[in-house]
């Protein structure tokens, strides 16, 4: 079966999630879809699986236009999907899960269990899946559960199998097994759409790689493509992002992170002995493909995750083990990566969100008494200052557009007294106008002498903002560079390339003496 998408466009308000995406999948081919979070992969797959109707464009199967109104249509057309979160009933057996929804009744309306078990066993044998039809799903390891999902799709005669971030939940050994199975499925004539943001695995199994960024196809490659090349494509560089800014005028070291270790999951280090320093009046941009410890780094800097070893100092005050509240008080402004989950209370009004971390301080509170007048006054001022487009200050923040939500967070964080601004993926999922606004504000902060850390997996953002670039890979900084570094060099560092030359200004000892010197002066 030949599957083709032509000019798929999907808009959510001002945000274009998919912008004229075309791609075709030949029979017996592994087609990898590579892109960061928010690049539009999931939207595209939801279109393909009949969950979202595209604004423009169409799906063609064997040259004929198909329109899917629900996943049922997609399944009938031979498309199978293995979601990142499995859709299995834990207390049912494998065979029961596989047959769920397509139960076949034998004589007297009884379930034909024997046939299902035979089907599972037969498919399992043909593709080397090694799945026992009688095992309870809840007893199976995650890797096997994933295979049950694959069997489910195959029993429904899927010709095209979509695997959504299939390795995200797997151990390395399980991933290896999955690649072997994918290979066998391909040899059997099934097409695979493999969604991922991991360069290595895409390299390992794809026949064709399509790279998505900001809702557009930015490149197609075949596997001999280098990882540097793919990394560069993926985080790419747009000409439309330009921020006018003067040269930085760095002052003393404000944030001093020394060899910290932060756990990700129980067995893995998210941040692995990382050191960096940020000076007043400079923007340090941390570049890197997502999932290399950036999230853990930001959360540890705010105290949401414990720092297991190393020290974090803010203006020479040791805050390694301080609580989030103490750190906010000490002068950290924080823009979280996941603004809906961590930055806002969606059901609260804009006014309440604007004081979310200031509610118990003057002038918004006296004792335990909230000063509603002050809160309203603050809201009116901030809404004007940051041009938040909202019906009123009483509008629930969750109903605002992404850009306006981010403005609310910025207005709150920057309205507080602060010495450091830590912003993680500050413009992810925003439209171009909002991106410009956010970038302008960040540069403004730098010019006011704030030490700024930007974590971004968007290269154009890194280039637009950075006074200094740090590249993060597997929990470590693989190198510091000036913002005029060529993209290829950053690509090399993002793929784990070792830094041969350590630039003089970043070596910890000298900076620390600088800090000590300036401390003595003041």
């Amino acid at each position: 079966m030949e599957l083709e998408l032509r000019g798929i466009t999907k808009r959510f308000g001002p945000l274009v999630a998919n912008d004229g995406i075309s791609l075709s999948v030949a029979p017996g081919q592994v087609h990898a879809l590579l892109g960061e979070n928010g690049a539009g992969k999931s939207t595209l797959m939801n279109v393909l699986f009949g969950l979202i109707k595209p604004d423009e464009g169409a799906i063609y199967i064997d040259g004929k236009a198909a329109s899917f109104h629900s996943p049922k249509d997609a399944i009938a057309a031979g498309i199978g999907m293995v979601h990142q979160h499995f859709m299995l009933v834990p207390v049912f057996t494998v065979a029961e899960n596989v047959t769920l929804g397509i139960e076949q009744a034998g004589p007297a309306g009884l379930l034909d269990r024997r046939k299902t078990r035979r089907d599972v066993r037969e498919l399992s044998h043909r593709y080397g899946l090694d799945v026992d039809p009688d095992a309870l799903v809840e007893d199976l390891p995650v890797g096997i559960q994933q295979r049950v999902e694959i069997v489910k799709a195959l029993v429904r005669e899927a010709k095209v199998l979509i695997l959504d971030e299939p390795t995200a939940v797997l151990t390395p050994a399980e991933s290896e097994e999955l690649f072997r199975i994918v290979g066998q499925l391909r040899d059997g004539g099934t097409s695979i759409i493999f969604i991922s943001h991991k360069l290595k695995e895409v390299q390992a199994i794809a026949d064709t790689i399509t790279v998505l960024r900001r809702g557009k196809v930015v490149g197609r490659r075949t596997p001999p493509a280098t990882e540097d090349d793919l990394a560069t494509l993926m985080v790419g560089r747009d000409v439309q992002l330009r921020v006018s800014k003067d040269a930085a005028n760095p002052g003393e070291v404000v944030l001093d992170v020394e060899a910290i270790f932060v756990a990700a999951q129980q067995d893995r280090m998210g941040v692995d002995g990382l050191s960096l320093q940020v000076r007043a009046g400079e923007i340090l941009a941390v570049a890197g493909v997502q999932g290399n410890g950036q999230t853990e780094l930001c959360e540890a800097l705010l105290g949401l995750r414990p720092t297991l070893a190393g020290t974090v100092k803010l203006n020479d005050r040791d805050i390694t083990h301080a609580s989030p509240r103490d750190r906010l008080r000490a002068g950290i402004a924080y823009v979280p990566e996941d603004r809906k989950e961590d930055g806002l209370v969606g059901s609260f009004s804009v006014a309440e969100n604007l004081i979310l971390d200031l509610y118990d301080r003057k002038p918004f509170a006296s004792g335990v008494n909230l000063k509603l007048g002050e809160i309203a006054k603050n809201a009116a001022a901030r809404i004007t200052e940051f041009d938040v487009r909202t019906g009123s200050a009483a509008t629930p923040a969750g109903t605002l557009s992404g850009g306006n939500q981010q403005k609310v967070i910025l207005a709150r964080e920057l309205g507080r007294e602060h010495k450091v601004l830590i912003a993680s993926q500050p413009t992810r999922g925003l439209d171009v106008g909002s991106i410009e606004f956010v970038h302008r504000r960040i540069v403004e902060q730098r010019d006011h002498g704030v030490a700024v850390v930007i974590v971004s997996s968007e290269l154009d953002e890194i280039y637009a903002l950075a006074d200094r670039i740090a590249v993060m890979y597997e929990g470590k900084i693989t190198g510091f560079r000036d913002p005029d570094v060529p993209t290829a060099e950053l690509g090399r560092l993002m793929a784990g390339g070792v830094d041969a030359v350590q630039p003089e200004e970043n070596s910890p000892p000298s900076s620390r003496t600088d800090a000590a010197a300036s401390e003595e002066q003041t």
């Binding site: 949401l304 609580s323 509240r325 979280p336 989950e341 609260f348 971390d357 909230l370 509603l372």
Partner: protein, 441 residues
């Protein structure tokens, strides 16, 4: 859509109103639309108020049908007069319910038949007029307090099923202080009420502490603590060296001292007492804490989005402990109100079904203090009016419980009411969706 009248005539309105900015204009328009139109629009939007009202109406109609067609007289009536009989039974039931809980015209007639007003008052005829309202208030008091004990944690994202354990905790302490200690009149009442709060608060605090420290789900913890407290109470009442009244063969405490009784508010003929004022004051207090205090801001933030609250520097676990402590105290006050207001002794059935009814009241009140008061009064009225129902139309008391269940069922299922009355979906989710969210928190 029809154009609002004000927009056809802008020169007349704009000079007087002087809208300060762009947003002023839209509110100006809506202010000048006929009230009926706005009301109709917001009603049809299927907001929570509409849904609640319609749920009550639907439950009343269904309850009436149920009364009528379970009644032997109706069932054995000839086909021709069956509908008339059914109407008589259903309306008779609701009239009796109303007379028992709000106002009975016969009592007024009786009042004016007396020779003089002073003898009427002296003989209790005036009290009889207000007796239904007094009974409603008395029945509502523990329901409001226990309902607040569910509504407050609900705002902080916790589901407090432990009303009865906290009720028992409060009742035990209030009772013990009531009969075992001797104090002057005013002091004794206050000490016992505070004891009730503390007794419940300890149990609530324990729940919060267990959740905060171990991550155990509060639903499980509170359910289990209910059993613990119920059997602890049974044990305490089984031994005369503990709480059991000396010489009594029954599991019951000695009566509390008269000084520990909650003062009656309207003479000795009516049972309404200061407990009702405490309940109303607590409802106001909870409202104030939630909406006007920094503590309440924390509660609501943690309830609505715990991870954002954490990022904003709030201590989520500490909030859980505090909110459960206060909630436990409120349920404990319900225990104190029952012991000190009406029962005066504690027995193994004192906690009744308050723990479960509290959830119902909080659900019907949509987790808001004002709503809890309204729902508590409604359920209090149903309780107060049900004996009269039975005598008037021989409708079993159980029908009232069925009626309550129907109300809650319809309130908890806004989509059902909306589709039944073809209402548009409101923007916010109904309480059914928000209540079920509590389970995942």
């Amino acid at each position: 859509m029809t154009t609002p009248p004000s927009s056809t005539d802008p020169p007349a309105t704009s000079p007087t109103a002087k809208p300060p900015n762009g947003t002023g204009e839209s509110s100006e328009k809506s202010r000048h639309r006929p009230f009926g139109e706005i009301f109709k629009e917001s009603f049809l939007e299927g907001n929570t108020f509409t849904v609640t009202v319609l749920a009550l109406v639907t439950a009343t109609v269904l309850g009436g049908l149920l009364c009528a067609f379970t009644n032997p007289t109706v069932l054995h009536a000839p086909a021709g007069s069956m509908l008339g009989q059914a109407w008589d039974v259903a309306s008779g039931t609701y009239v009796a319910l109303f007379e028992g809980s709000v106002f009975n015209p016969h009592t007024v007639t009786a009042l004016f038949q007396q020779a003089s007003l002073s003898t009427a008052i002296h003989d209790g005829y005036l009290s009889a007029v207000f007796n239904p309202l007094s009974e409603t208030a008395v029945q509502a008091t523990p329901l409001i307090l226990a309902g607040l004990a569910v509504a407050l944690p609900y705002q902080a994202g916790l589901f407090n099923i432990g009303g009865s354990s906290q009720f028992i905790g409060g009742a035990i302490l209030a009772t013990w202080l009531g009969y075992d200690v001797s104090m002057p009149f005013f002091v004794h009442v206050v000490v016992c009420v505070i004891g009730g709060f503390v007794g419940g608060a300890v149990i609530g605090w324990l729940t919060g502490e267990i959740k905060a420290r171990t991550g155990a789900h509060e639903v499980i913890v509170t359910i289990m603590l209910n059993y613990v407290m119920q059997y602890l109470l049974a044990y305490l009442l089984s031994s005369q060296s503990l709480l059991q009244a000396s010489g009594s063969p029954n599991p019951i405490t000695p009566p509390i001292a008269f000084n520990a009784h909650l003062p009656l508010l309207a003479g000795t003929n009516l049972r309404i007492n200061a407990g009702f004022l405490i309940a109303i004051a607590c409802a106001f207090g909870v409202w104030w804490v939630l909406n006007r205090s920094t503590t309440g801001f924390e509660f609501r933030s943690v309830g609505a989005n715990a991870s954002a609250a954490r990022v904003a520097g709030m201590k989520v676990e500490r909030t859980w402990v505090l909110v459960m402590l206060i909630a436990g105290g409120l349920a404990g006050l319900a225990g104190s109100a029952v012991i000190q207001g009406t029962d005066f002794t504690l027995n193994p059935n004192s906690y009744g079904t308050y723990g479960i009814d509290a959830i119902t009241v909080a659900l019907l009140g949509r987790g808001k203090p004002g709503g809890v008061v309204a729902a508590g009064l409604l359920f209090g009225a149903l309780h107060a009016g049900s004996p009269g129902m039975q005598t008037a139309t021989s409708t079993p008391v159980q029908i009232v419980q069925v009626l309550q269940a129907l109300i809650v069922m319809f309130v908890a299922a806004p989509p059902l009411i909306r589709s039944l009355y073809r209402l548009r979906a409101a923007r916010a989710g109904g309480v059914g969706t928000t209540m079920s969210k509590g389970w995942n928190a």
